[in-house]
């Protein structure tokens, strides 16, 4: 424990910190007095170390995506504090946050929904640059093509609509758009779910390359433990809005402390252990 804390300290101060975050959704029905209360986040504390890959796992509706939205400042938590690069950004409105926004970028699961279908691929990447007034004209186009090549897309496809891309190519485009503004933190919310295994592997390799080239920090949200178990440095387990376990990946997934973690590990092994049995010679 001591060496782990020391190792963490050696990484430097946390890039992003959240302290006692709470968020509750209340739904009212039009004709009755009933209301539904959903505790999406309950007293969540998290530290995201710089230059590392931190992952959040848990079942659907465990609160992982809500936490991601709150950290990306696209939703406001009900209470709690958020710190980014040493500055407290709790409760900042859009105008206050605008200069910091390029530093935190979000990549969604469904890029077909997240990317404007009327834009060409190059325009998708150019748009954030234009909005931030970083480049213009021909230089803009060149930069967009550079980014496309960097994420493994051919610059010949610059004028095609994202809808013509395959699922994996769209995610590459979304990642390209996200890194264009040179962020410090990239939040990937189930960005690899629904892709073929081989595509997932390729995009994970791309993410690892980009991380070292651009000194990025990742917050990876996924329900897939085998994915997380290959690249994450730190893992947090969410259950009913609470962060029930958090620590170095090998520790959390190798010797789990919480029941929820054990349950998730068992399921990940569920189908796979039968696979292993088949590999060993066919007893099913």
């Amino acid at each position: 424990m001591g060496s782990e804390a020391a190792a963490k300290r050696a990484l430097g101060p946390a890039l992003m910190k959240a302290h006692r975050l709470n968020k509750r959704y209340i739904q009212r029905t039009p004709f009755s007095r009933k209301k539904f209360v959903i505790d999406a986040l309950v007293d969540v504390e998290i530290d995201i170390a710089p230059g590392c890959i931190s992952a959040l796992v848990g079942e659907s509706s465990s609160g992982k995506s809500t936490l991601a939205s709150c950290l990306a400042m696209s939703e406001k938590a009900d209470s709690g504090e958020i710190w980014f690069e040493g500055q407290e950004i709790t409760g900042w409105n859009d105008r206050q946050f605008a200069p910091l926004r390029p530093r935190i970028q979000l990549v969604f699961q469904d890029s077909a929904g997240a990317l404007n279908p009327r834009f060409s691929a190059a325009q998708v990447i150019e748009e954030p640059l234009e909005v931030q007034n970083r480049e213009s004209g021909a230089k803009l186009r060149r930069r967009a093509c550079e980014v496309m090549e960097e994420v493994g897309l051919s610059a010949d496809w610059a004028d095609r609509s994202p809808l013509e891309f395959s699922g994996g190519q769209r995610q590459r485009l979304a990642i390209g758009r996200a890194i264009t503004l040179k962020p410090a933190l990239l939040i990937l919310d189930e960005s690899l779910s629904g892709l073929d295994l081989s595509t997932q592997a390729q995009i994970l390799n791309l993410l690892l390359d980009l991380k070292s080239t651009h000194a990025l920090t990742y917050l990876l949200i996924s329900h897939d433990l085998s994915l997380v178990g290959q690249i994450a440095d730190f893992v947090g387990v969410m259950h009913h809005g609470r962060l029930v376990e958090f620590g170095p990946m090998q520790q959390v997934l190798g010797s789990p402390q919480h029941d929820e973690t054990r349950k998730l590990l068992a399921s990940a092994g569920g189908v796979e252990s039968a696979y292993r049995a088949a590999q060993a010679g066919g007893r099913a």
Partner: protein, 330 residues
């Protein structure tokens, strides 16, 4: 586990499907031959673009009208590809049933579950209203629901992801088809649910003695479940064989690469931080499908000059295994 009687339920011969795309014609399936036997679970393994979904849709006549289809699909001594729309409607749901991806989207949001499952029986005019209701309730129970009344009256938005999966399974089995096709039913779904769905399908297949085709991109789902695995790439079948033999010793380089993606990752290989993940290099492109040589050649670690010139012929080996590769077993 394999078919004890060698009777064939479905026989596909020379199936080719092509579309006219915006930029180039798209060859989705190329001269496919495939047999599905009674009471057999066949896993069709392949990436996006391999043609696996097209194969499933072709078996139900659900390809768009602009698709150009050649070949034959023989089912119960009739060539389905020669059938007209009303003949197809008699087969769909009744003799051959499909479970689509994303059950949340496969159900009408404004109809109750009971009504939606009943619609499947109604479409085939089976029995009185009371008999239909009984059949629907039986189907819901067989899919694993215990509180059938609540589900019958519920709307899709009120059910969880797992419950929705069971509902579409109930829709598929309510008319007691002889063949069920599950098209990637567990994509984007978390691991716990994946295991549940696969288990439910296995139990139903055993109990009702159906033929089942399970289409997926994830080999791990087929272990301990499928009897036979058919590996597809670029619209062709590149390897097929009994599941244990195929997983223990894959013959085609593509199958090898695919299986490594599972065997070299946790939980098989322990939770260790990697700097580089195993991956099959390159990507499947649309033009690969049209090639006269081996479609996998650009990405293959075992490729030779011959692979660039000619298309491999299917070879039978080790009993019932088949592979299309000049350099298989490397």
């Amino acid at each position: 586990m394999a078919a004890c009687c060698a009777s064939t339920l479905l026989r596909v011969r020379g199936l080719s499907v092509a579309y006219d795309g915006d930029r180039q014609a798209n060859l989705a399936l190329h001269q496919l031959d495939l047999d599905i036997n009674r009471r057999e679970i066949v896993g069709i393994l392949g990436e996006s673009g391999s043609g696996k979904s097209t194969l499933g849709l072709a078996m139900l006549g659900l390809l768009p009208s602009k698709a150009r289809i050649e070949g034959s699909i023989c089912f119960e001594d009739k060539d389905l590809l020669q059938a007209d729309e009303s003949a197809w409607r008699q087969v769909r749901g009744d003799k051959i049933a499909m479970i689509f991806q994303e059950p949340g989207l496969s159900l009408s949001p404004v109809m109750r579950i009971g009504d939606q499952v009943t619609e499947v029986i109604r479409a085939h005019h089976k029995g009185t209203k009371a008999q239909q209701k009984q059949a629907v309730e039986a189907a819901l129970r067989e899919s694993g629901f215990s509180d059938v009344d609540r589900i019958y009256r519920a709307y899709p938005y009120q059910l969880s992801g797992g419950e929705l999966h069971r509902v579409v399974i109930a829709q598929a089995l309510v008319c007691r088809p002889s063949l069920m096709i599950a098209d990637e039913p567990t994509r984007s779904v978390d691991a716990t649910l994946q295991v549940e769905v696969v288990k439910t399908l296995r139990d139903i297949q055993r109990k009702l003695g159906l033929g089942l085709i399970f289409i997926t991109h994830n080999p791990a789902l087929l272990a301990g479940f499928a009897d036979r695995v058919v590996v597809m790439y670029a619209g062709r079948i590149v390897e097929q064989g009994p599941v244990e033999a195929l997983f223990r010793k894959p013959l085609h380089p593509y199958t090898k690469g695919l299986l490594q993606l599972v065997s070299r990752t946790p939980p098989h290989s322990g939770y260790v931080r990697q700097e580089r993940l195993p991956a099959i290099p390159g990507n499947l492109t649309g033009s690969d499908n049209w090639t006269r040589a081996c479609a996998f050649e650009p990405r293959c670690f075992a490729r030779t000059e011959l692979c660039r010139r000619e298309s491999p012929v299917e070879i039978e080996t080790e009993g019932t295994r088949r592979v299309s590769c000049f350099n298989y077993g490397i």
